[in-house]
């Protein structure tokens, strides 16, 4: 049975991009699940990993930290991490943390897979 702490994440291959679509609030309860999914996806060293946040209405600093870690992993193997579909509330935490200029953030999935 799924635990409420589980995070639903769809995975899709789009050309040379791997797209992850988490759904739900990402906080300290759920960021370990996101970390695990990101880690598994990065084991295959995709050239581009896209995280589509369209279905994420809320994220705290634990979720942001998880994405920072994934970005650093991608840089180490010379891949890229692209974020797309950010809702306003999620975007604001990246702005507060001044990470909106550190991540590659685009509006749509189409832009992300072509980024």
């Amino acid at each position: 049975m799924a635990s409420p702490d589980d995070l639903q994440v769809e995975t899709e291959q789009r050309g040379e991009s791997v797209v992850l679509r988490p759904a739900g609030e990402i906080d300290l309860a759920r960021s370990p699940a996101l970390r695990s999914v990101l880690s598994r996806a990065q084991d295959a060293r995709p050239a581009r990993l896209v995280v589509d946040l369209q279905q994420v209405p809320y994220m705290d600093s634990s979720g942001v930290a998880t994405l920072v870690e994934a970005m650093q992993v991608a840089r180490r193997y010379r891949g890229s991490l692209v974020l797309c579909g950010m809702q306003e509330r999620v975007r604001s935490i990246f702005e507060i943390a001044r990470l909106d200029t550190v991540f590659r953030i685009v509006d749509s999935l189409e832009e992300a897979v072509g980024a």
Binding site: D5, E25, D27, L28, D60, S61, V68, R89, I96, L99
Partner: protein, 158 residues
């Protein structure tokens, strides 16, 4: 529970276990209270995020991820303010010097270390203290802007 005296009785007191699964409920509770105290949606979101980060810090650093400890949240309106909220978070976790509680440098890009910065960005007043008998307390206050407070007061009297 012995804690730091709070000016005025809190209107709401919550005793929650130090488990991340309860963060969503705490966020919903504080956003709802902030809304009823006259804050707009954007400010409610900032207050909820600040409380979330405060609770995360207690769970991760104060209690070192032990999930059977207690965190007390007291909430009330700011005295003498038309629209303001006062939140006190208390624990019996590890004590640290309040002056040592600070964010990492923002240009030092690495995972973690942002919670304190986010709390300060979202709230007008943030004050850490050691509790008598152990643990820490965090007092957070946020005032509504004068224009919005005035509009809220008019709505209240209409």
């Amino acid at each position: 529970m012995k804690g730091r005296p709070v000016a005025g009785d809190p209107h709401v007191k919550i005793d929650m276990l130090s488990q991340p699964r309860y963060l969503a409920g705490a966020r919903a509770m504080i956003a709802s209270l902030a809304r009823r105290l006259g804050f707009g949606e954007s400010d409610c979101a900032h207050v909820a995020l600040a409380l979330d980060e405060a609770l995360c810090n207690v769970i991760k650093h104060g209690y070192e991820k032990r999930d059977d400890q207690h965190i007390w949240i007291s909430v009330g309106p700011l005295e003498g303010q038309c629209c303001g909220i006062r939140i006190l978070v208390e624990d019996r976790g590890r004590q640290v010097e309040p002056a040592d509680i600070r964010s990492r440098q923002l240009d030092d890009i690495r995972p973690g270390g942002l919670g304190v910065h986010i709390i300060h960005q979202g709230m007008d007043h943030v004050e850490y203290a050691k509790r008598d008998g152990g643990g820490m307390s965090l007092l957070m206050e946020k005032r509504q802007s004068a224009a919005v407070a005035s509009a809220a007061a008019r709505k209240e009297t209409a």
